[in-house]
Symmetry: C2
Subunit: 237 residues, 2 copies
DNA sequence: GCAAAAGTGTTGAAGGTACACCCATGT
DNA sequence: ACATGGGTGTACCTTCAACACTTTTGC
């Protein structure tokens, strides 16, 4: 019998960070714009520049957990919906050395939180995605990946329920979707698609908002959404 | 003016690995099976168990470069087509400590290489995806992600040209696709779709293989494929 | 009665699926 | 002549895009 031996192996240790592109939508219903949350760095390198919130993954910390923690620490935001986008580790992307980042993308209602920059962040602000400042590191590239990912997901299904109150109108849902995709959608086609997906159900009551017909309210049905996600998966061998 | 100061910052250093699920297809044309390349570990932990090839990312090494290097070192295979699948960093997934892995997926023609296990690998072998041994670490989960990714991509377009000789018949391309997707496809529909995508063009000559009509040969047109990939991307703001 | 947003159906195009027969060859 | 895989067309259905008028309300 071979005796179980203790082994010692030292491996290279690049840094690992998470960066979060957290999106929201702001403006009036007829003129919503997609915005992304940026922080002004209070640390070198790139001190004073705008960047995606993010930071180093701690020992024994889950990747998504790290993303949530950094978001909370640097901006005060909790409870957003997050999805992993990709990992990027091109040498030279960070002047501090070899640092690999895992990019997360998320959505939240901007006005539900008030921004509380702390830690590495001197300031935190929402920026229109169409009017960004120059970004630190390769964050312009990471953001580009995140926007592409978000749009691809949203093309499949309107997953922007995070941005809405519990009960919402179909016009609101459509305006949001349009703002994120950056193009107008046909109202009738949109309603048919959403109804067919079955993620929403009629809620009690209507909303009167101006001198016009009140709108039916709807509610997101998380369970139907989950079932839809399950159905997307491939069959195992 | 604030004088530019030198800063010192030490960050936590989880390990970063890449793991590669490299697929091929083997068997006769009428009975192809999807296979994945595994190595038998020659190092603790999990010594003697089968695992995905992979290993630590070196200082200042690109992620995909690391995947290619590990694949070459552990199995002798070079020049496969690779795509990133996801990053996984669940605490406890590796007994050596906090180790984050970036999973790559790839395709190559198994019989174009002969396997030359070295380094951490005591052996390297192709296994049927439908008859896998128990895998080290959480590699069963990683492999599952990779298969799902592969099938989703292949559903969109037959990207398995890596598995074919320079000139191939449509029946070969179809048999491959069927083996990977794990379900049969209608011949006429398949041909129409492939022709419509425009990735292939007729090549000179035919192939006579048995006592039946010879098949037209085709050739992959990388440029048409690239243009298709470009078209998939979303519009910038 | 008019302004303003809510709500609703139909048609045509494109893409996907299902299905059956003839063709070229070797034996 | 027959066995074997190569090669082709058509009908149906589903999905998506385009398009305009009526309804309900506040003023």
């Amino acid at each position: 019998m071979v005796k179980k031996q203790k082994y010692v192996y030292e491996w290279p240790r690049p840094g690992v960070t998470v960066d979060i592109a957290l999106f929201t939508v702001a403006g009036t219903l007829q003129h919503l714009r997609l915005q992304v949350l940026l922080i002004e760095r209070d640390e070198e390198p790139w001190r004073g520049m705008w960047a995606l919130p993010g930071g180093f993954v701690r020992e024994n910390e889950d990747l998504e957990g790290a993303a949530r923690r950094e978001l909370q620490e640097e901006t005060g935001i909790q409870g957003a919906w997050l999805e992993q986008v990709t990992a990027v580790g091109t040498p030279g992307r960070d002047t501090r050395g070899h640092i690999i980042t895992v990019v997360y993308m998320g959505l939240t209602a901007g006005d539900r939180h008030h921004l509380a920059p702390r830690g590495d962040a001197r300031a935190a602000r929402w920026f229109e995605v169409s009017a960004l400042p120059k970004l630190a590191f390769d964050h312009a590239l990471l953001l580009d990946h995140a926007v592409t990912h978000l749009r691809r997901r949203l093309d499949e299904a309107p997953i922007c329920f995070e941005l809405l109150p519990e009960r919402f109108t179909l016009s609101e849902l459509q305006a949001l979707t349009e703002a994120i995709l950056g193009r107008p959608l046909d109202r009738r086609n949109f309603r048919r698609k959403v109804a067919h997906l079955g993620f929403i159900s009629e809620a009690e009551g209507t909303r009167r908002e101006g001198r016009h017909r009140p709108a039916q309210l709807y509610r997101f049905v998380p369970q139907a959404f989950m079932e839809h996600a399950e159905r997307q998966k491939a069959v195992p061998f």
